[in-house]
């Protein structure tokens, strides 16, 4: 049975005693040693005597199940690493993974790291333009994908001269392969028992995750192998994973949670994890927990609110007594969801807060620490966090005052740069603080309370979407003269994309045009970026210099004060 005591000491005690050296000691790592995440998650666990322990239980759409031990994973990641080397992929080359949540995605990340490549996972629901932007920026050398997604890659191939190989993991030979395509069947490939893992050092690049901002193209947050030091210990302390746990992280590795805590953290701890490649329904999720006896569950507020919407009747139909610890990430977890989860599962969800850039958890609710429902929790021991003034960026010492969450750089998983964009990276640091872009306050007990973003970025279902990217895509539609995109409050997804659109002469608003525009954006960018609501307008609020005032539209959607509109050119 799992030890009832949390892995982490009581919070105040841990804050006094914590040092990242503790994590290094447990990982048997000394400064200057080689450190390769791929090796740490596979070979090292086997050497610790867990070669035959189950590493992954994977379930597909039609409930087919595959199981892999840590030794299977060691050999399969070797096999992938060798395959890439044979393709003349070199250390430091970017290799993209553009797949559903299949085992090849999970093992692919580790295989790439083992041969010294930089893994670039991208959400498989991205449309062609989203994919092109990110592959072009990273000058990606190879991409792993599936038959169902390869058409999107084919369409943009002419714009990607650096992309040498399109590796299809489920090719069945029924159709001829095209230019630059190669089939790779992980299960049938000749197994590579021994592989010389790339001797990466602490600062060797590991993973490139793209994230959206208010303006400009998405930025690639580049991480390094040393991130393991943070990801290992936060997994152990915040997710409280123990040797006999069965863990389920519902995040897709196309996003940072899916790699930091859906690949690296749990496997570096030698824990068994489950993955479901099935789409969401409440019934399916509960069945999955019951069938695999999940003990620790890391999910997202959007999913939790969707489960709430479904009600407790479905919960009661299943034996979910295996669950012992629940955590959440992606957007603020509202108090109602925490209270509901206690009613439904007898356990509260513990909110965690962090970002693509931070690489590991930052402000969290810990096992054993009192939860204040709706609060983000407290900073992870070893990290210095504060709230800074929104204009001066000086720390605020008054409780309850809203400012921006700022972090003292230096924790191991912090991004090391934005790919090809050092200027944007440098702009994230002021007065010696990393500026998160998120607003919050701190109460008298040191708990953080999320207020909102400090920019126009939309957080929908825990994913950041840049309004500029969507507005640019909309302008490519023949009917659209101009547009403004804002986040609109949504009871399940926190925010959804709303587009205000002025049409070109000769076009009239209609329901069919609305649907056409929605699908246009969905295919070009992604379903997340698709406006869930479109409002046709005659014109958009602009400054006298012609800049669209998104904040005016956003304030209307949120029922907030519009603020200073002295620079407004036209009436609302």
């Amino acid at each position: 049975m799992t030890d009832k005591l949390p892995n982490m000491k009581p919070y105040e005690e841990e804050v006094k005693e914590f040092s990242w050296d503790l994590s290094k000691e447990e990982l048997n790592y000394k400064d200057g040693d080689t450190i390769n995440i791929g090796e740490y998650c596979t070979d090292r666990i086997c050497k610790l005597g867990k070669a035959d322990k189950t590493a992954l239980i994977w379930e597909g759409h039609s409930a087919e199940v595959k199981r892999y031990t840590f030794d299977d994973m060691r050999v399969l990641t070797n096999t992938i690493a060798k395959f890439l080397q044979d393709l003349k992929i070199n250390a430091g080359d970017r290799v993209c993974l553009f797949m559903d949540k299949v085992p090849e995605l999970y093992f692919g990340v580790l295989g790439i790291l083992k041969m010294g490549g930089i893994a670039q996972p991208l959400f498989s629901a991205f449309g062609g333009e989203s994919l092109l932007t990110r592959l072009d920026d990273a000058q990606t050398s190879a991409i792993f994908t599936q038959k169902k997604h390869v058409a999107k890659v084919r369409k943009i191939l002419n714009d990607l001269p650096s992309l040498k190989h399109i590796i299809i993991v489920d090719d069945d030979g029924s159709k001829p392969l095209r230019e630059r395509e190669i089939a790779f069947n992980m299960e049938k490939a000749e197994k590579v028992e021994n592989f010389d893992v790339y001797p990466s050092k602490a600062e060797t690049p590991s993973i490139l995750h793209y994230t959206s901002g208010t303006t400009g193209k998405p930025k690639g947050a580049q991480h390094v192998h040393y991130s393991l030091i943070s990801q290992y210990i936060t997994t152990k302390y915040v997710l409280d994973l123990k040797d006999d746990d069965i863990y389920w992280c519902t995040a897709d590795p196309g996003w940072v949670t899916g790699t930091s805590y859906g690949i690296i953290g749990p496997w570096a701890n030698g824990v068994t994890q489950c993955v479901s490649d099935s789409g969401f329904t409440a019934e399916n999720w509960y069945k999955f927990i019951e069938k695999h006896k999940i003990t620790v569950w890391y999910s997202a507020p959007t999913a939790i609110r969707a489960l709430m919407k479904d009600g407790t009747e479905t919960v009661k139909k299943h034996d979910l007594s295996s669950l012992r610890h629940l955590c959440s990430v992606g957007e603020p977890l509202n108090a109602e969801a925490v209270i509901w989860s206690e009613e439904a599962f007898g356990l509260p969800f513990h909110d965690t807060y962090w970002q693509t850039e931070t690489g590991s958890m930052v402000i969290n609710n810990y096992p054993g620490m009192k939860i204040k429902p709706g609060s983000m929790g407290k900073p992870f021991p070893g990290m210095t966090a504060t709230i800074v003034d929104l204009k001066t960026y000086e720390p605020l010492d008054k409780q309850g005052t809203v400012g921006m969450i700022a972090l003292k750089p230096g924790w191991p998983a912090m991004m090391r740069t934005y790919w090809n964009n050092k200027k944007a990276y440098d702009s994230k640091f002021v007065n010696g603080w990393y500026l998160s872009g998120d607003r919050s306050s701190i109460d008298e007990d040191g708990y953080y309370w999320f207020v909102g973003r400090d920019d126009d970025v939309i957080n929908t279902a825990g994913h950041l979407v840049g309004p500029f990217e969507i507005e640019s895509a909309l302008l490519e539609h023949n009917a659209i003269a101009e547009s403004a995109v804002v986040g609109k409050p949504d009871p399940v997804n926190m925010e959804v994309v709303k587009a205000f659109i002025a049409l070109n002469p000769g076009y009239e608003p209609s329901k069919m045009l609305e649907l056409e525009i929605m699908n246009f954006v969905r295919k070009k960018l992604s379903a997340l970026a698709m406006p869930q609501e479109i409002e046709f307008v005659d014109s958009l609020p602009k400054t006298r210099s012609g800049k669209i005032m998104r904040r005016v539209l956003r304030a209307k959607e949120w029922g907030e004060e519009i603020g200073d509109i002295s620079t407004l050119e036209n009436d609302l």
Partner: protein, 86 residues
């Protein structure tokens, strides 16, 4: 009713599958749990149904379960008397 099923099936194939995708979809193929239509894309499918059949589907009825196959969608539309006349 067969016409309605085919119209929805054609729309799903046209809008949610890539042109090179040779996946076979039937009236019973799981759309949401099968990963063909994600929860965000479900919104555009709902708008299509509302526009095409002149109905308003409340959010409480537009659940992943109700949208999980063409046959299930048709069952949902019956609640709004679509395909029931005659």
């Amino acid at each position: 009713m067969a016409d309605i099923k085919d119209a929805i099936l054609d729309y799903v194939k046209e809008e949610y599958l890539e042109e090179d995708d040779d996946m076979e979809i039937t009236y019973d193929t799981p759309l949401i749990t099968g990963g063909i239509v994600d929860s965000f894309s479900m919104v555009s499918l709902k708008v299509f149904l509302e526009n095409t059949y002149n109905v308003q589907i409340p959010d409480s009825k537009a659940t992943p379960e109700a949208f999980d196959s063409v046959n299930k969608i048709v069952e949902l539309l019956k609640e709004f008397n679509v395909g029931q006349e005659g």
